[in-house]
Symmetry: C2
DNA sequence: TGATTGGTTAGCCATGAAGCTAACTATACA
DNA sequence: TGTATAGTTAGCTTCATGGCTAACCAATCA
């Protein structure tokens, strides 16, 4: 119940917006200036800058200004961190499924054995 | 620029909240009633129910009422869908890194060749 | 049947997110 | 030096989110 990384909050919140996911996808293909990034979007620049800022505070994106141009690049660590979360959940989930399956198998075998007993009290069937 | 699944919006938005992530984590370990889920949280039930509802509309959780008890379970599909998104991004990202690395190696080799020429005009060093 | 339990509905409030315009700063180019 | 370019800041609106209380069903159980 502890381990509540405040970072995951921000990362997932950042990725909940289609504009920001598109920015991340674009940056996966390589760094770009704010202007280049903003190009495809029908949105005023200040609004767009807010998205960049959200991505930066989440740690998904880093940027650097040189001259009058700000260049953005993806920071893979944050992405990987979020991906890890899924993998952890899946591990737990799958372990449970395995246990569940084992349990079902056990039930099935018990039933089989019980079923095998009923028709003949004298002989045990060997296998399927 | 198309392919903007509205579902991812809701899934990531759902996971952006620590309470809801905790619920998902809890449900990874097996289904539970609303009351059981709510237990550990210092929150009024109606507030908690909102979280459940958000999880349901995102597709991460399914629930069913029997008698006066509502039982919730995880719906793995949605989780996997979100995980896929990360894997796709990582694939693009890694492909780019590979290309970049190849490029750096090329540069390095060119430099090496140029460097090997400088010290002696008469002999080529073989290797270290 | 009456009380308890488990969940639900309705409605309120405070905060934050996402968009806009207008005006401004600072670099680069002619 | 003057002008265009690339971002930035400030301030506004609107809507969604996350929390609450109070009152309300509807199963169970004594």
């Amino acid at each position: 119940m502890a381990n509540q990384s405040p970072h995951l909050d921000q990362i997932f919140a950042a990725l909940a917006d289609p504009t920001r996911r598109a920015i991340v996808m674009r940056l996966c293909a390589g760094e770009a200036s704010v202007g280049e990034l903003a190009g495809p979007f029908d949105m005023a620049l200040p609004s767009f800058m807010k998205h960049i800022h959200v991505l930066e505070t989440s740690g998904l994106v880093q940027s650097e200004k040189s001259g009058r141009v700000r260049t953005c690049r993806l920071s893979a660590d944050a992405l990987v961190g979020a991906e890890d979360w899924f993998q952890q959940q899946r591990a737990i989930w799958e372990a449970r499924l395995d246990r569940f399956e084992a349990y079902v198998m056990k039930l099935k075998k018990e039933k089989e054995r019980a079923g095998a007993k009923r028709p003949s009290r004298t002989s045990k069937r060997k296998g399927s």
